[in-house]
């Protein structure tokens, strides 16, 4: 292998793939980054067997080939190179990579590319397409609700279902549920249901570039993997084995009280209440009061702590239905309000022991596009 690349491209590529490097593994090769020539470009890949990231960068290729370089050493080296052009050539027999850049000359000990676990070669022609910006927003709106407790592995994933031109992401941790639907950029005949690790989706949201680009999603048959591909980056994730709970059952179908209030005011009130509630049991008490026919109602959000004190905030709201006092985990409320983009949000409740539902309100949101269900907490005394 003999290639020349720009230092900034190489550094950028390594920063993208290095998130998937696993330095402490039983397989030494997983601490390395696969570097291979691929149709006029240089391919960089890393995998920790759960998540694999591949990135293609422009390169001048004189001789094809591949090897794996120690990720940490190579990244540290590349970040200190000062010249624009980096020349690399591999001695296949000794698996030594010579890196030249300006006056700097380095020999790196590499591991044969054969040792690297095979990454799936996918045919993206029949993949599903979705806008990058939309997918990123979807991920942000559900991923925080996934469980972090490995005792129930299935809940550490996000359920993705594709049916009739619509894609749905859902995540739950036993106390809350977040569901987001969207239209696909391309319609697809086959329906899909798969549980993707939340960590992989967070990583996808991080590395996917902004803008109107399209991301293609493919699930190679029988491999238990999902592949997301943009122009220069590909992310492969193992799927979680198992059946996701039937979350439709948890979504309340009716409500008694519906309060519509300003998202930003509600979020601010929750932030303040959390300052006190986080000391104790994370309880925020929500008192929904409908005052009269022609007057706006109000929602009082309060948090308190034995040690630090208490805080109340009153937010104006439009209320339908009877008054209610209900308690929620304030962190859960704050996390969902953080990802609701509309100026107004609806809080739907029925009793203080039944789950509450939050959904964005506005002309631009389609019905049922995003919803979030939270279990209430005990009000206590």
């Amino acid at each position: 292998m003999k290639v020349t690349v720009l230092q900034e491209n190489l550094a950028h590529g390594l920063s993208i793939v290095s998130r998937a490097v696993s330095p402490r593994s039983t397989l030494p090769v997983l601490a390395n980054v696969l570097m291979a020539t691929d149709e006029g470009r240089l391919r960089l890949s890393a995998t920790n067997l759960e998540l694999g990231i591949t990135c293609w960068i422009g390169a001048k290729i004189e001789e094809d080939g591949s090897t794996t370089v120690p990720a940490r050493t190579f990244t540290d080296l590349v970040s200190t190179l000062s010249d624009r052009e980096v020349g690399m050539s591999l001695n296949v027999r000794t698996q030594t990579l010579n890196v030249r850049c300006g006056a700097s000359n380095t020999d790196l000990k590499c591991i044969d590319a054969q040792e690297f676990p095979p990454m799936p070669a996918v045919d993206t022609s029949d993949g599903l397409q979705i806008k990058v910006s939309e997918l990123k927003e979807m991920i942000q709106q559900v991923v925080f609700a996934a469980s972090t407790d490995d005792a129930r592995p299935i809940l550490t994933g996000v359920l993705m279902t594709v049916k009739g031109g619509k894609v749905t992401l859902a995540a739950a941790d036993g106390f809350r549920l977040s569901v987001r639907k969207a239209d696909l950029a391309s319609t697809s005949g086959h329906s899909i249901s798969a549980v993707i690790p939340a960590r992989a989706l967070s990583e996808l949201a991080r590395i996917a570039s902004d803008g109107e680009q399209l991301v293609t999603m493919v699930m190679p048959r029988g491999r238990g993997q999902v592949v997301f591909r943009t122009k220069d980056v590909e992310l492969v994730s193992q799927l979680i084995d198992g059946t996701f709970p039937d979350y439709e059952q948890i979504i309340p179908t009716k409500f008694k009280t519906r309060a519509v209030l300003s998202t930003s005011a509600f979020l601010k009130a929750c932030r303040q209440a959390e300052i006190f509630a986080r000391e104790g049991s994370h309880i925020a008490r929500i008192n929904i009061l409908a005052t009269g026919e022609l007057q706006p109602g109000s929602v009082e959000i309060s948090g308190q702590s034995e040690e630090t004190g208490s805080n109340q905030n009153i937010v104006e709201a439009t209320i339908e239905g009877p008054n209610i006092l209900i308690a929620f985990n304030v962190r859960f409320l704050r996390e969902v309000l953080d990802v609701i983009r509309t100026p107004n949000v609806a809080l739907e409740t029925s009793t203080d022991t039944a789950p509450g539902m939050l959904r964005p309100v506005g002309a631009q949101v389609a019905d049922g596009e995003f919803l979030h269900v939270i279990m209430p907490m005990h009000l206590g005394s």
């Binding site: 039983t26 095979p118 490995d150 592995p153 299935i154 799927l239």
Partner: protein, 328 residues
């Protein structure tokens, strides 16, 4: 036979049949003494379920890339959990890591195989953390636990696994296999078969590490000499021996194996002796002390080893042992 084991043919046949008839259990527990072949059998099972070109159903080819990666214990779908030195315990974090891995569908093979070696070393909370996984692992996961005996595991673990108990390989069979499969001289093979007490792994280790064989002879010499010495000499020996805890732990079972032979000799049993090169000493000791004393010395040595495992002051334990050893 493509499982290529020394002995344990019944276990290989059973597992091969499970694979061929698609009756694989989700969890196996393989017990037996150190070096008997528990890990080798587990690896063969992992190879057999994931072999790319099985010569016959349930048989690993041992030549394809998958088989070779598993043999080196470097397969993407093979997870190995064991106590990581200097710790002598399997920790709960290791189990949690494993659970994370096992939740994912296999990377390239048919099954994810998790190997939990010497599971008696698991802390109580680690063993408990595994229960849920043992009860309902994902569909394409096989767990294989190895342990010295089921008595050393929580019953909740044992009851969730199919148990295979490996017994020592008959001395004659082991001697033959060492000659045919590992090209060891007949005399050496016969001696190794005896000294290893039917444990193929241990026999091969001894063959490859001559130092350990020499060490064994030194230790047995020391022991016989000490039996004739007074307290001053014995205490001096205890002080030196206690300095290296690891070697003390290795030394005690070898002394115990000598007393086992003494006990066997005293009863006149026809069971093959372990320390066949020590025939004269064994006979002398058997005539001098008889079965009863031999049994109590074995217990004493085992007890001392347990104490050292439990972090008792090694020198103190060694000195107590020296006081209690009979005088020739």
């Amino acid at each position: 036979m493509s499982w290529d084991l020394i002995g344990h043919g019944w276990a290989a046949d059973l597992l091969a049949e499970h694979i061929a008839k698609q009756q694989l259990r989700h969890a196996y527990l393989i017990t037996g003494p150190q070096g008997i072949g528990r890990r080798t059998l587990s690896l063969r099972l992992a190879q057999a379920v994931n072999c790319l070109r099985p010569p016959a159903p349930g048989q690993p080819c041992q030549a394809c890339s998958s088989c070779r990666q598993i043999e080196r214990m470097q397969h993407p779908d093979l997870s190995i959990v064991h106590s990581e030195p200097p710790s002598i315990e399997i920790k709960i974090d290791q189990i949690r890591m494993l659970q994370r891995t096992l939740a994912l569908s296999p990377y390239q093979a048919n099954y994810r195989v998790a190997l939990l070696l010497d599971f008696e070393e698991a802390r109580e909370n680690a063993a408990n953390a595994l229960l849920k996984t043992l009860e309902e692992p994902a569909s394409r996961v096989i767990l294989v636990l190895t342990a010295e005996s089921i008595e050393r595991l929580p019953p909740t673990i044992v009851s969730r696994c199919e148990h295979l108990r490996l017994r020592p390989v008959p001395v004659e069979q082991l001697s033959q296999s060492l000659q045919s499969q590992h090209h060891i001289d007949p005399d050496v093979a016969r001696k190794l078969a005896h000294i290893s007490a039917g444990r193929p792994g241990y026999a091969i280790e001894l063959e490859q590490d001559k130092q350990r064989l020499d060490q064994r002879i030194t230790w047995l010499d020391d022991h016989y000499r000490l039996l004739g010495e007074n307290r001053v000499e014995r205490f001096a020996y205890a002080e030196t021996a206690a300095k290296d805890k690891e070697s003390l732990r290795a030394l005690l079972p070898i002394w115990a194996s000598l007393w086992r032979d003494v006990a066997l000799q005293a009863t006149g049993a026809s069971v093959p002796l372990t320390n066949i090169d020590r025939q004269a000493e064994i006979t002398t000791l058997a005539e001098r002390f008889g079965l009863h004393v031999a049994m109590s010395v074995i217990q004493l040595l085992e007890h001392t080893n347990e104490l050292i495992d439990q972090y008792v002051n090694a020198r103190l334990a060694a000195e107590v042992l020296m006081l209690d050893l009979p005088r020739r």
